[in-house]
Structure formats: structure tokens, C-alpha cells
């Protein structure tokens, strides 16, 4: 019986720790399918987190916090889009610049907004929602069907994104842009508009990761609270083979590794905990080496499209 409890704990931890990575990875998939690298995921998580904290702090409403977080993500996505699509600067450099900008800006703004309470301003967040009947199931019930609303939103968005990307006409157009923007352009696809759309949505999704951190996990904004999740999300994109569903699975796998290492820290106090901290990163490295080798990215990802290029 004790093992079942442990399993339940790990599953619940997987969902909780994997959700932010999954949101960011989903955002990355949308951007890369449209031919743009979104290296700025990490910074956009922070933007979303700050937006959510500030919105909820000011109004006392978690839903308004959610809205503010999404808006921050959209703006940061459009900024990256402007750099990548319009200015055609190197997308890796642009993304790194955005990460640095947002890390500094969110730290600065959080002190402006929360003032003396910095680091301690608790905001109203979401509480868990029990899905009738399913949440009463043993083991999986409490861990998977008694989560916060953002977890259910994630599952819904992942399925919707998959359907849109793989089955809808506009999704086909976006994939064509990521594979061969010139071909898409000549076929009448508004390439630049599609790319702006993709990068804005990507920013909003990454922001949802930050929203989840603040409104569903710790109820407070902390500087640098993204803690590398945006970068693990980049690995999840590759591991998930640029598929929305695949990326979510990969992200949850990383969440699982994280949950396991937390458990191991408690159950084996004699082993230095730093060794366990390595686990998620080691798993992502191994998974990339073993499974990522054959993955093929959208053919034109990262290459700025210039119509008059000769």
C-alpha cells in the first residue's frame, strides 16, 4: 500500500512540475513549426509570472491575473517577432537578448509593484478542481483529476493545437511556412502575418507556464523563478518531434524525473541531494541523445525569409 501512495505522490508531482514545461514547450512547437526559433521562452515565462502576480495582486482575482499574464506573453512574443520577422536578426541572438531583457525587467518591475513586500506578496491563485467521480479513483484520482484549472487548460490546448496544426487548413499553411516559406509565399500564404501570429501565440503559451508557477504553485512572484524551465522546454520540443502532443509528453517526462528526484531526496537523505538534482537534466540529455538523433526539425526553422533575396 505504501508503494501506491508513493506512486500517487509522484504522479501528482509529475503533473505539477511538468505543466509549466509543457506550456512553454507547446509555445515553442507553434513558433518552430512556423519557422521561428523561440529561444525567449525562459524570459516569457517570467513575463507571464509577473503579469499574473501583478494582476492578481491588484485586483484580487486569479482570472484577471491569468489575463494579465497572457497579455505580457503576447507582447513579449510580438517583440521577438519584430526582431525575427521584420528585422531578420539572428533568432538565437534575439531570443537570448529577450531572455536577458525580461529577467532584468521583471525583477525591476516586481520591486516597483510589490515594493517592500518584494518576495513576500502573496497573491490569490487558483485552487484545485476535483473532477466528479474520476477524482475518486485510487492513485490516479487525486493526482491527475484533482488538479488546478490550468492543468486541464493545458490538456485542452495541446489537443486543440494538435488538431489545428495537423488537421486544419491554416495549420497546413503554418507548417508550409516553417518548411519552405518561399513556396508558401508563392502559393499565396501571408508568410509574415502567419509568423507574427505564431510567435505571439508562442509567447502567450510560454507566459501560461509563468502563470501556472505563480497562481497554481507558489502564489508569489520571485525573481528568476523560471529556473531553466524555458530551456528544458526547448529540449522537450525536439524530444516531442515538433508535435504538440509529443512535446507535452516529453515535458511531463521531465516533470516525472523532477518529481522522482524530490522523492529520492526525502527517502535517501544519506546521499548528497545535489546528485538527485542532476537527474532531470541527465534524463533530458540521455533522451535527446537516444531519441533525438533521428528527429527532423521544420526545414526552414531559424532562417529569416527575405522575399527579394537573390
Amino acid at each position: 500500500m505504501i508503494d501506491l501512495v508513493l506512486l500517487g505522490d509522484v504522479l501528482a508531482g509529475t503533473a505539477r512540475l511538468g505543466t509549466p514545461i509543457a506550456f512553454a514547450a507547446l509555445g515553442g512547437v507553434i513558433a518552430e513549426r512556423g519557422g521561428l526559433y523561440n529561444i525567449g521562452l525562459e524570459g516569457q515565462i517570467l513575463a507571464g509570472a509577473l503579469g499574473a502576480a501583478a494582476g492578481s495582486f491588484a485586483t484580487g482575482s486569479a482570472v484577471i491575473g491569468l489575463g494579465c499574464g497572457i497579455i505580457c506573453g503576447l507582447i513579449s512574443g510580438l517583440l521577438l517577432g519584430y526582431m525575427s520577422v521584420r528585422l531578420r536578426i539572428n533568432q538565437l541572438v534575439g531570443g537570448i537578448a529577450l531572455n536577458l531583457l525580461l529577467a532584468g525587467l521583471t525583477a525591476f518591475l516586481s520591486r516597483q509593484i510589490f515594493g517592500a513586500q518584494a518576495g513576500g506578496a502573496r497573491v490569490k491563485g487558483f485552487s484545485q478542481i476535483d473532477i466528479p467521480f474520476l477524482s475518486d479513483l485510487p492513485v490516479v484520482g487525486p493526482s491527475l483529476f484533482s488538479q488546478d484549472p490550468l492543468f486541464y487548460l493545458l490538456i485542452g490546448l495541446a489537443i486543440a493545437a494538435w488538431f489545428w496544426l495537423m488537421k486544419s487548413h491554416k495549420g497546413l499553411d503554418l507548417r508550409a511556412v516553417g518548411e519552405n516559406p518561399k513556396a508558401a509565399d508563392l502559393a499565396g500564404v501571408p508568410v509574415f502575418r502567419m509568423q507574427y501570429l505564431a510567435i505571439a501565440v508562442s509567447g502567450a503559451l510560454a507566459a501560461l507556464a509563468g502563470v501556472h508557477l505563480v497562481l497554481s504553485q507558489v502564489y508569489v512572484f520571485a525573481e528568476g523563478m523560471s529556473a531553466g524551465k524555458g530551456f528544458i522546454a526547448l529540449a522537450a520540443i525536439i524530444l516531442g518531434r515538433w508535435s504538440p502532443i509529443g512535446a507535452i509528453c516529453a515535458a511531463l517526462f521531465f516533470g516525472f524525473c523532477d518529481a522522482v528526484q524530490f522523492k529520492l531526496q526525502f527517502t535517501s537523505p544519506e546521499i548528497p541531494y545535489q546528485l538527485f538534482l542532476i537527474l532531470p537534466y541527465l534524463a533530458s540529455l540521455i533522451a535527446l541523445v537516444v531519441l533525438g538523433a533521428k528527429a527532423s526539425a521544420p526545414a526552414s526553422v531559424g532562417l529569416p525569409y527575405d522575399r527579394e533575396h537573390r
Binding site: 508550409a176 501571408p190 537573390r310
Partner: protein
Amino acid sequence: MDPFLKVTGICKSFGAVRALHNVNLLASKGECIAILGENGAGKTTFASVLIGLYQPDNGEIKLGGTPVSVTSPARAIEHGIGMIHQHFSLVGAMTAEENILIGLPSTKRGAEARARIRQLCSDFDFNIDFDIRVTEMPVGMKQRVEILKALFRDVSILILDEPTSVLAPTEVAPFLKGVRKLVANGCLVFFISHKLDEIREIADRVMIMRHGRVEGVLPVATTPMAHMSALMMGEKSTGETVDTPKAKKARNDTSSAPDALVVSDVCLTDPGGAEILQDVTLSVKAGEILGIAGIDGNGQTELSEVITGLKRQTSGTIHLNGTEISSASIASRIADGIGFVPEDRHAEGLVLSLSVEENMAFRSIGEDRFMSGGLISRRAMHEIASDVVAAFDIRPPDPKLNASALSGGNQQKIVLAREVARARNLLVVVQPTKGLDVGATEFVQNQIRAVAQSGVGVLYISTELEHVLDISDRVAVMAFGRITGVVDPENTTLQDIGLLMTAAPEEVQ
């Protein structure tokens, strides 16, 4: 009545390069107009303006009497203008159907659309496999997908950019038949080409371009080919082409010359186990041009890569001037005086984002002539490149331009100039005239002859049989990774070579 298409005063410059200068044209429906011109004459630029890829600096386009501004390819489609690019614009990872449907409004993508694609396909007798992805298709099929894509968009103006240059000889006739059908259905077809015989066969009128200007728009039926070619070449046609009687018969007697290159029993097996080269044995004497003929993909490219060190043979030996180089590095083969003009000048021959002078220097940058006090001398580089640009008539004559700004023929001249200078003992050229017009081809051939006359052995690999026969002292024919025969180009018939080229594997000893 207003003409269907009226183009007035189109100008387009790229930086200092004038690509189009005051282009005017009137055209009506159901007409096939060939656009003839040398590489860099502005044919593709003109087409790109019509299709909305380039915005003209000046000028006006009228359709049915109404001025239209084609600001993007999407707008061009709205106006019924479509273009099929030389190198295609398809998404490799998608199927034919997905490629055709990209970018259309949702209302045109339902089940009827799929039915109509297949209907069009059978109307035009197109053989297209709808189950595979575009990357898996042979070139001819990709082209048919492109045409179908344009047809599905109900184009009334279709621009074909050198459509036959990528096709196998057997695919050309069915393709031209399809084009004729389009014209008969009332489509205005622009056919960009520099093959005069094709233009004769397909076009009603020919628009001849030179240096970005229209030299004339003439009816094909009543214009002698010589006149077309004279307009296309300008003053050159009375100069070079006539004065240099095909220098081919002025061959060196190389029978007593030493062997420059000896390839013995070379085999190459790819990681999948397929035998790419099987017991290839050949020799090239100093001052001799050995042609390698064969249908594309029979091991010719790999042979050139084995000789230059890009690929390592599975077994067999290679000797240069009597010294074994079978396992020598690429760098030491270059140092031994092997020059190499690769098949794909964009991917392997040039760094397109570097300037012409940098491209000419980069393989020899450590040599004294480019150095001054241990550092690169920009001035020496510029001076040496300027001389070569003048000697090879590379246009535009500015060595500081990026290689990407030049046309295909001029890019090939850069590679050739550089490699000829390096080839002290052996020059390996692969498809040197691919995509080049008549003038540039002649020039390239003459340069290669001059190299041979200076005592360098030349291995001339090409799928263009006429060129191989024209230039070579001896011709080896490859099929299925083997040399199926070596013939004297003066005492052989096309039929004989054709037989050697298609020798079925079991008939090859």
C-alpha cells in the same frame, strides 16, 4: 481593344546592378511567349516582378486595360498569375495534395477540391503519385505537381522558368505537350529558356533580352535562329562564335605524354551496401581531356569525389603523376595540383555570402601573393581578382560584390578561374556547363581546352553528351558504377554511346 497584358517601362535595380531597364511588352491570351537571353540578361528578374516577388522601381503592369499592383505573390494569384521556378517551390515534407492546397481559402479546400485535383491531373495526362511526399518524387513529377498547383489556382498567365533544364530527355516531349494544351485553353504562357530548338517548337513569339533590356519581340516562325542568337549575344555573336571555329579538332597529340591520373580498380560501397563504383579503371594523360559520359546518377559524381578526396574509396588505388594518393587528404591533393569544379557550385564551389575576390582567394589564402607581413593583403587580393574578373569577363565587373549577386554563368566563371589556377597537374570538372547559356558554355569550354593545352590532364564529367563529345580526346562511358566502354569521339556514333550508357547490369562484364 486593350491587350490582355501590357507591361510598360519596368525598371529594377539591385544596389548598383541594373537588372531590368525599361522593359515593355504587349501580350494576349492563348499565346506562348519565349523569353530568351543569356544568363544574367534579366529573364528571371522580369518574371519575379510579374509574380510580385520583386517590386519594380518604375513602370506599370496592366491586365485587361486596368493597372494592377502586384505587391506580393498572393496578389499575383488573385490576378491569375502563376510561376514555376527552375528549382521549384514545393514543401518537401508534404504530399502533392497538401502542396497544392497550401494558401488557398478554406472554401476551396474541401472534398470537391481533392476531386478536382485528380480531375485536372487526368485531364492533362499527368502521372502523379498522391501517396508519397514530394522529397520522394522524381524531378519530372515534382514539376507536374507545380504545374497542377498553378492550374488549380486558375492561372491565366503562367511563367515557366527554364522548365526543361531539370527534366530527363524522355520527359521533355510530354511536358511540352502539356504546355501546348495550356496555351490552347487560352492561357498566356511565358517560357524562359535558352534552348533555341525548344523555343522553335513551343513558342509563338520570342522576347529577346540582353543586359536587362528587351532587344526585340519577334514571331518565332519567321525569325531565323541565327538572328535570334545574334540579338541575344549582341556584338559577341560576330566575334567569338565565328572566329573560334570549334577548336576541337586542334587536339594535342598526347599519345607519348605521361599519365597524369591513373585510377585502378576503384570500388565504392555506400553504408547501405549498394555498390556505387565497381572496379573503375581509367587513366588521363597530361594534356589530355578524358570525357566521362553517362546518365545522371551512374556514379560519375562519386568518381569525382573519390579522385578529389571528398569520399574514400572502399578499395582500389589512385595515382597522380606516378605517386600514390589513394589515402591522401584533400589538402594534400590540392597541394599536389588537383583543381576541382564541383557539380553544385552553390553548395560546394562558392561561399555565396562572400565577395567575388574572397571566393577567388580563399583556397589559396596562405600563399605569398595574397599575404603581406603575415597578414592577408586586401589590396593584393583585390588586384589579383580584378585581373581575373577582366580576363574571364565576369559581370558585373566588381570583385567586391557578393557572389550571390551574380548570375549562374558568372558564378561558374569564378569557380573555374580559381580552380584552373590551382590545377597544375589535373583538373576535374563536373557538369561545368549546367544551366549556362550558349555564350558562357563556349567560354567555359575554351578555358578548359586552354588548360589541357598547357599540359594538364582534364577529367570532364558531364551528362550533356554533345559537350562531352565536342571537347574530349577520349570518352569513357559510365553506367551502373562501371566504365562500360572507352570510345574515340570522332569515330563513334550516338547510337553506340547510347547503348553503352544504358547497358543493363548483367550485360556489363
